[in-house]
């Protein structure tokens, strides 16, 4: 290490020692050995003598931290600080304007006494469950089909994936048009001669949430397909060859060997999809607007409505905190189990 053996100028030696100290985590084994081998006085000097760094050296030493500082401040304030702030608001009586009159858990009591919130939670469970299951099933099936040495695979893949480039608002607008009972798919099928066919889910308060599932699965399943396809390409060929030699049929090989080995992909796909489901706002707004009535509300649209159009800031904050907890309840156990299994493996 030239820097310790050949340094004549104390100034440089000193500043670099500071840098070295700051970066001691990263010193490699070899470097450690060299440091031990170098004359002890050289190392001692840098530690004992007071370092007098020139200004530019000092800036140089601090530059990485200075660069990181804005992000640090922003993260602290605008993520953690704001979560706390919203938490505080949820314990107040705030309505149209925020105030800081402590109200205990009354907003949460009111929230869970609100029928509309229960509809939103029920819809989240329905939509989340069907959306995740649908995307996983379609994504995996398409990936397996596409993995059979298909000609034109690249083109087909891009067709399956393009909805992901669209905004949920665009998707919602398109499906709103196709699902509208008067002129959409209902009319199309009736024109084929099935005169009693009804497909009025969009305007049926019992079924409107399922239209969100249809549009959501259409938009996101291609992406899940791409994830599974990448996972399939990573499966070790020799295991499959060995199973084939043992006489296992293709479905058995997939069911017993390949699909179980895709566990990590299932994990990430589940995380992404549950995230999309919990945050589902734009799609619902564009497709049903939460309606008819509030039959297709989700927690995200509930939060928006109560905070910004119905002037119930306290309850809006309480619902936002509940959303955060739902995300945490989904993400934390999964993250934990994944970290543990990856550490073991």
């Amino acid at each position: 290490m030239r820097r310790f053996l050949a340094n004549e100028q104390f100034e440089i030696n000193c500043s670099q020692a500071v840098v070295m100290r700051a970066r001691r985590v990263r010193i490699s084994k070899i470097e450690e050995m060299v440091m031990l081998a170098s004359p002890p006085s050289a190392v001692d000097d840098t530690v004992r003598k007071p370092c007098r760094l020139s200004l530019s050296d000092r800036i140089e030493t601090w530059l990485p931290k200075i660069i990181l500082a804005p992000t640090f401040v922003v993260t602290l304030l605008f993520i953690y600080g704001f979560i706390l702030w919203t938490g505080c608001l949820s314990f107040t009586t705030s309505r149209m304007l925020p105030n800081y009159e402590f109200a205990g858990l009354s907003q949460y009591h009111a929230l869970f006494a609100n029928e509309r919130w229960w509809v939103a939670l029920k819809n989240l469970a329905l939509f989340g469950g069907l959306f995740i299951a649908g995307c996983l099933a379609i994504g995996l099936s398409l990936a397996i089909l596409l993995d059979q040495k298909i000609r034109g695979e690249g083109f087909i893949r891009s067709v399956y994936l393009y909805p992901m480039a669209l905004s949920f608002v665009v998707t919602g607008t398109a499906w709103k048009w196709m699902l509208n009972p008067g002129l959409g798919i209902e009319k199309l099928v009736r024109d084929f001669g099935f005169h009693n066919f009804t497909f009025d889910w969009l305007t049926n308060s019992e079924l409107s949430i399922y239209t969100v599932v249809i549009a959501g699965v259409w938009q996101s399943s291609g992406f899940i397909m791409a994830m599974f396809l990448a996972g399939l390409r990573g499966v070790d060929d020799s295991i499959i060859k060995a199973a084939q030699v043992d006489g296992a049929s293709l479905p058995v090989i997939y069911w017993r060997i390949i699909i179980p080995s895709l566990r990590p992909v299932f994990f990430s796909a589940f995380m992404i999809l549950s995230h999309i489901a919990i945050k589902s706002f734009d799609l619902v707004m564009a497709l049903t607007g939460g309606g008819p009535g509030f039959s297709s509300d989700t927690p995200a649209t509930f939060m928006y409505t109560f905070s910004f159009t119905r002037n119930q800031i306290g309850m809006g904050a309480a619902s936002a905190m509940m959303m955060l907890m739902i995300v945490a309840a989904v993400v934390v156990p999964f993250l934990y189990s994944e970290l543990r299994s990856s550490r073991r493996g």
């Binding site: 820097r3 970066r23 990263r26 140089e60 660069i67 990181l68 922003v74 605008f78 993520i79 704001f82 919203t86 398409l142 089909l145 596409l146 059979q148 067709v159 399956y160 994936l161 393009y162 909805p163 992901m164 480039a165 669209l166 905004s167 608002v169 665009v170 607008t173 398109a174 499906w175 709103k176 048009w177 196709m178 002129l183 259409w218 291609g222 791409a226 399939l232 390409r233 499959i240 049929s249 293709l250 990430s268 796909a269 992404i272 995230h275 945050k279 706002f281 734009d282 707004m285 564009a286 995200a300 939060m303 905070s307 800031i313 936002a320 905190m321 959303m323 955060l324 995300v327 993400v331």
Partner: protein, 293 residues
């Protein structure tokens, strides 16, 4: 991967392959159908829409809905079409993408090649920002933007998108720079290069792929955003996605489905264009983003 021809007879294997191709083709149609219907509807007259079928081609192709959607359709009280909002979106998306990508590059550079005590904890803390539902920051942010005097402005939207986009861009660059050997930076330091010089001269030139991924990802995310747009802006300052939603969902009089569809395609064009031109990078961004979940 596994070819079925080893285990099965030629005949059934050929039938199987036909079946697979048919299935894949049908699914292609399913994914393309909404785009086709949007496009054909946007080129039809209203009469044609009422009499014709959802999937039929326009009887007479008309570009009037497109002209209306671009410069005449009424959104709120203004009847100047989507063009205003389309340019609005560009005005905040481009700066927000560039700033968040640059910040992400610097952050990633520090967090991998200039680590200090606590930098790993900082990175984990930053990553949690990728997980939170944004509803939890809406109320304080609306208040803060108001205090800063940038509520309902283009600068306000730039600010919000940079603040909540940096987590993702940092993740991209950090995961990319982790693969750079330390020796490269060490050698440059011995030669006397400093923090910034190493970044501009060595790191940035080898970062082109991840810069492209980050720009595409951020552009798609911010362009397609609806939540921040609808909460933090109103009237003339709204992004294109919010304008589209207002156009479609607040209809007075005759519903112009053809205009709605033209407007929807207009709102989707920039991201579709990027997908077609740089699909490879787009997919890479999605999978890189998927690390965060």
């Amino acid at each position: 991967m596994a070819d079925s021809s080893n285990t099965q007879t030629q005949g059934s294997s050929r039938f199987g392959r036909y079946l697979i191709y048919t299935l894949l083709g049908l699914v292609c149609l399913y994914y393309l159908m909404p785009l086709f219907i949007m496009l054909s509807t946007s080129l039809k007259t209203l009469d044609d829409i009422r009499t014709g079928s959802l999937v039929s081609l326009p009887a007479h192709v008309t570009f009037q809905p497109w002209l209306d959607a671009w410069s005449k359709a009424c959104i709120g009280v203004r009847c100047e079409g989507m063009s205003v909002y389309f340019w609005n979106s560009f005005r905040f998306v481009v700066p927000a993408v560039l700033i968040s990508t640059l910040a992400g590059a610097f952050n990633g550079y520090v967090l991998t090649l200039w680590r200090f005590r606590g930098s790993d904890i900082f990175f984990s803390a930053l990553m949690i920002g990728c997980f939170i539902p944004f509803q939890v920051i809406l109320l304080p942010m609306a208040r803060t933007l108001g205090e800063l005097g940038i509520f309902n402005t283009i600068s306000g939207l730039i600010f919000v998108h940079v603040v909540y986009g940096v987590s993702f861009t940092t993740l991209f660059f950090r995961n990319y720079y982790v693969t750079i050997p330390d020796e490269l930076v060490k050698a440059a330091r011995i030669d006397g290069a400093g923090f910034l010089r190493i970044f501009w001269r060595i790191i940035l030139p080898i970062s082109t792929p991840i810069v492209v991924v980050s720009i595409i990802w951020q552009f798609t995310q911010i362009w397609n955003d609806f939540l921040f747009g609808v909460v933090f802006s109103s009237g003339d300052h709204q992004p294109v996605t919010v304008a589209l939603n207002n156009l479609v969902n607040t209809s007075t009089g005759v519903i112009g489905y053809n205009v709605d569809m033209a407007a929807a395609i207009i709102a989707a064009l920039p991201t579709l264009f990027i997908y077609i031109v740089a699909g490879k990078y787009f997919v890479r961004g999605l999978t890189a983003g998927s690390v965060k979940g």
